[in-house]
């Protein structure tokens, strides 16, 4: 038997989470130590898995299949391909850095890390699932702890509202998607939830046309697809820093990824019918998200809406139905995940020290926290698609794809880039340069070494992918091959 590396990645967090919950609440140092150790293990293993994948061979690798409920055709079936593996790595990175910057959480850290880790298992689980039922199982595991994390540790002003809104949106979305999944199960007649078999089920054109939107929009809610994006900025803002990082960095990818895996890959004919108009919704995401981000005065809302805008690019790539578009979307999911985790980490650090997120009330922070300023600038440049950083590497193929589908959409979406550049540069100038408000003078210190490590890791990844995309692009490209095969080379 080979080393079940994926299973270990998936279950390390939840095991650690349970252990943490069993520890005495007052042993905070021990709790943090266990959390750090577990997240480091998950990160190292996901790095190992990442580089162990054999690209020329392609397809699903590190596969493991164990019957779970054989009577209903449900099995524990996991494996990764070129699209999911970067997301596993992303989750490992965000989890590790999230623990680092949550070192200072002093309010019930035991429960905080416990829930966070349960959530992490859910996320890992979705990315590696090859069984539809199992995918939903992990999906719900990922969503529910979010409610508690926001409602208990969130920003006092809006946390209850935001937690409720987020949970309801996501539950409704997943229920809708689940209905679609059940429809597939019954229509296939294969008596199995195995996605690899369902891919070959040969659903009729009419069936696919009806059920594709159900599944795609169901998951699209979590991906922040317009007009169902409304929960996400509120959720991001209300959540504590590490949760925002997880939420925008990884959870939104969960939606996009599931929409791809279940929606597009299982119902390719339906995708070909509907995505050509969904592309316009994604366009709205990109441009509208950027415009709304520009008029926000709350630092965290700016980032929240920028996520809406950037996830729109992922959806644009999907909707282009072209090879380049999918390569770009695959890279954008990773790049945006790292970038937005970096953003929320920075916002959290600023808020913890200045006790405000109101942009006009901030200023001159580069003097007291230079590294934070540099990290934010790196993230900002990624966000505006500056060449030499990962954002460009991801967005360029998306635009290539969109060109081949709808040239006019590419041209309009490009305007989002200029808007993004404007608001990012304005924020950089207002928050990090310029004069510091008098009442804050002398009260704001630099961040801790752990914070710096987290920011360093995230920035490094963004630069490394931008300068040398060859360590990820071919992998994603191999994953796109199978999507293209299902779409019939469209």
């Amino acid at each position: 038997m080979t080393f079940p590396i994926l299973s270990i990645i998936v279950f390390t967090p939840i095991v650690a989470g349970v252990i943490i919950l069993l520890l005495p609440a007052e042993r905070k140092a021990l709790i943090r130590g266990v959390a750090l150790l577990a997240s480091a293990v998950a990160l190292v293993l996901s790095v190992v898995a990442y580089f162990a994948y054999d690209i020329p061979q392609g397809g699903y690798q590190m596969v493991q299949k164990i019957p779970w409920l054989p009577a209903w055709g449900i099995s524990y079936h996991i494996g990764v391909d070129g699209l999911s593996l970067p997301l596993v790595l992303l989750t490992g990175v965000v989890m590790f850095t999230g623990v680092l910057i949550s070192w200072g959480v002093d309010d019930r850290p035991r429960e905080f890390f416990g829930f966070l880790f349960i959530l992490a298992t859910g996320v890992f689980g979705v990315f590696v699932s090859l069984d539809l039922f199992q995918l939903f199982f992990f999906y719900e595991i990922a969503v529910f702890p979010m409610y508690l994390l926001i409602a208990i540790w969130g920003w006092q002003k809006t946390r209850e509202y935001a937690a409720m809104k987020l949970t309801l949106y996501l539950f409704i979305g997943s229920v809708v998607a689940l209905v679609g999944a059940l429809a597939m199960f019954f229509a296939s007649g294969l008596q199995t939830f195995d996605m690899l078999e369902l891919e070959r089920a040969g659903f009729s054109g009419a069936f696919q046309r009806i059920w594709f939107p159900v599944v795609f929009f169901g998951f699209g809610v979590l991906g922040g697809l317009f007009p169902f994006h409304n929960w996400s900025p509120d959720g991001h803002v209300a959540a504590p820093t590490a949760v925002s990082m997880f939420h925008a960095g990884v959870l939104m990818k969960l939606g996009a990824f599931a929409a791809l895996r279940v929606g597009i890959m299982l119902l390719p004919e339906g995708a070909k019918v509907h995505l050509p108009w969904i592309i316009f919704l994604a366009l709205v995401n990109v441009v509208y998200g950027a415009l709304i981000a520009m008029v926000q005065t709350d630092f965290k809302y700016v980032i929240g809406f920028s996520s809406v805008s950037h996830m729109g690019l992922v959806m644009l790539g999907f909707a282009s139905l072209s090879r380049e578009g999918y390569i770009g979307s695959g890279l954008q999911m990773f790049s945006h995940g790292v970038m937005t985790a970096l953003f929320f980490a920075v916002v959290g650090m600023v808020y913890d020290r200045a006790h405000t997120r109101d942009i006009p009330k901030l200023g001159g922070l580069a003097r007291t926290m230079p590294l934070v300023a540099v990290a934010f600038i790196v993230g900002g440049l990624v966000s505006m698609g500056m060449p030499g950083l990962s954002g460009f590497v991801a967005e360029f193929p998306i635009f290539l794809g969109v060109w081949s589908a709808q040239p006019i959409v590419a041209i309009i979406a490009a305007l989002g880039i200029v808007v993004t550049a404007a608001y990012i540069m304005i924020i950089v100038r207002r928050v990090f340069f310029g004069p510091m408000p008098e009442e804050q003078e002398g009260h704001i210190g630099d961040v801790t070494p752990l914070d710096k490590l987290a920011l360093g890791v995230l920035s490094f990844i963004l630069i490394a992918l931008g300068v040398y995309p060859a360590w990820m692009a071919p992998l994603v490209s191999s994953g796109v091959d199978s999507v293209m095969r299902l779409l019939g080379g469209a």
């Binding site: 440049l381 060449p387 635009f399 490009a414 880039i417 200029v418 550049a421 540069m425």
Partner: protein
């Protein structure tokens, strides 16, 4: 040695980046050490580009010192470098100006480390544009240079820096947007980013695209490229970012901005617009020529009207770069016609003018900076009668101004003469108006000299030590020397340029 020979361009390109990384590792509290490390590091690319210059075979066609490696192969982009007679002078100009700018920046006291690191990164960005033979790579470097420049202006600039830096960034990024979209469209249609391949396939492409006739698509793409480059040059009426950016930037920033960054735009015309869109360039050459003449005349008038010394010099760049564009437009128009020989002359003049303006504009901004550092004013009316107080400075200023004005015997004359000589048979009216612009050039340069140096001895600055320091003389001496050498014996540079231009337009 083998490694150096086979990776010459990569070494030129990335030595500054490595040096920037090295600087960040050095202690911040030792500005002296940082400055010297940066200066010495910037001499390495200069030495290497001199090696390239020596080994360059001007009679061999195509690109030399080529390097090819996979970069972003998933979408078909490669790390493809190479130089020809058009890019090599620009590479030399960049590697020459950078050490001089760093020398000029020795007077910077604030956050020296970051300043120098950004400056070196900027050098890599600019060199990358000149060296790239892959369209995507070209675009990457084209944009990358913006970031350090933005921060140089925004962090080390003078009073109005926030406005100027954001305007610079948004203008240039906005302009590049069309370029980006056009590049994507080209890639989609031709299926490659490789420039030599694109040169062959794209201009001869003859099929309707996106439901539009090919001519329309090409015209749109032509304008997308042209506007991006016209903003950078800048051609009137896209020049309004320039006076602000130049005036607010720190001295070294203005030097490199005028010296090299503006050339990126002109180089874009040479490297991309003319070879990729010969028919469109020919059809719209008159528009470019008209705008160029407008830039020459309005630039000169605007320059004349300034009372801020630095702004005056900034507008003079609009005026001088107008000649570059005029030469390019004339060449585009006459290519393949009976007056192709004139096109070659005009083009030679344009490329040489790029080089010469790089020398004289950098020199002028440097001299403005020298004065500003001592007096903390740039207002021309505050000066006057400085010659007796700073005779050496005065001499240098007059010499450099004459180079900028186009005095025979100095570089500017040769290149402007060639442009005018080449354009005359092609665009007689435009050229005639442009020559009137030359008169105005004389007027504003003399106005500056008069306002600064002449008049009654200035009592206000009597107590100030105005005279130029030895370090500053060393920074400007190479520029003066080159202006003189090119003015007297331009052949060493023109032969290289001419060989390349003749192949393109002969």
């Amino acid at each position: 040695m083998d490694f150096i020979t086979s990776h010459l361009l990569s070494l030129i390109l990335f030595t500054p980046t490595v040096a920037a990384a090295l600087l960040i590792l050095l202690p911040r509290a030792q500005p002296k050490l940082l400055r010297w490390v940066a200066l010495l590091a910037s001499l390495v690319p200069l030495a290497l580009s001199l090696v390239a210059w020596m080994r360059f075979d001007m009679f061999a066609g195509g690109f030399q010192f080529e390097e090819l490696a996979g970069w972003y192969t998933s979408i078909g982009s490669n790390y493809h470098l190479g130089v020809d007679g058009l890019s090599l002078p620009m590479v030399l100009l960049t590697t020459l100006l950078t050490p001089l700018c760093i020398l000029a920046a020795f007077s910077i006291q604030e956050r020296v480390r970051v300043f120098l690191a950004l400056f070196l990164l900027l050098e890599t960005g600019m060199l990358g544009v000149f060296l790239s033979l892959d369209l995507l790579l070209f675009f990457v470097f084209w944009e990358v240079g913006l970031v350090p420049m933005y921060f140089l202006i925004n962090q080390w600039g003078s009073k109005n820096r926030d406005y100027a830096s954001l305007k610079f960034l948004i203008y240039t990024m906005g302009g590049s947007l069309g370029l980006l979209l056009a590049i994507q469209m080209l890639r989609l249609v031709v299926g490659t980013f490789d420039l030599p391949v694109l040169y062959e396939r794209w201009p001869s492409l003859n099929q309707s695209l996106f439901g539009l006739p090919i001519g329309t698509v090409k015209t749109i793409a032509f304008w997308a490229f042209t506007i991006a480059f016209a903003i950078k040059v800048p051609v009137w009426p896209f020049h309004t970012w320039l006076p602000d950016a130049h005036t607010e930037a720190p001295t070294a920033g203005s030097m490199i901005l005028a010296g090299v960054l503006l050339k990126l735009g002109a180089y874009g015309f040479l490297r991309l617009v003319l070879p990729l869109f010969p028919a469109q360039a020919q059809a719209f050459a008159w528009v470019l020529a008209l705008l160029a003449v407008a830039a020459i005349v309005f630039g000169a008038f605007a320059s004349w009207g300034q009372s801020d010394f630095k702004r005056l010099v900034a507008y003079s760049s609009v005026n001088h770069m107008g000649f570059v564009v005029l030469g390019i437009a004339a060449a585009a128009w006459a290519r393949g016609t009976a007056s192709a020989a004139d096109a070659v002359i005009a083009m030679n003049g344009a490329v040489l003018q790029m080089f010469n303006h790089g020398l004289s504009a950098a020199g002028m901004f440097f001299l403005v900076g020298v004065l500003y550092e001592r007096t903390h004013t740039r207002e021309l009316n505050d000066f006057g009668g400085l010659f007796p107080l700073a005779p050496i400075y005065g001499g240098i200023l007059i010499f450099t101004s004459m180079g900028s004005l186009g005095l025979p015997g100095l570089g500017g004359f040769v290149s402007e003469f060639l442009v005018v000589r080449g354009s005359w048979p092609i665009f007689p009216l435009f050229t005639a108006v442009a020559m009137l612009g030359l008169l105005l050039t004389g007027a504003y340069v003399l106005k500056a000299i008069q306002k600064v140096l002449h008049g009654a001895v200035n009592t206000r600055w009597k107590e100030t030590a105005l005279e130029i320091a030895p370090r500053e003389v060393i920074a400007i001496a190479p520029l003066m020397l080159l202006m003189l050498v090119i003015g007297i014996w331009p052949a060493w540079l023109l032969n290289v340029i001419n060989a390349a231009v003749s192949r393109l337009f002969g």
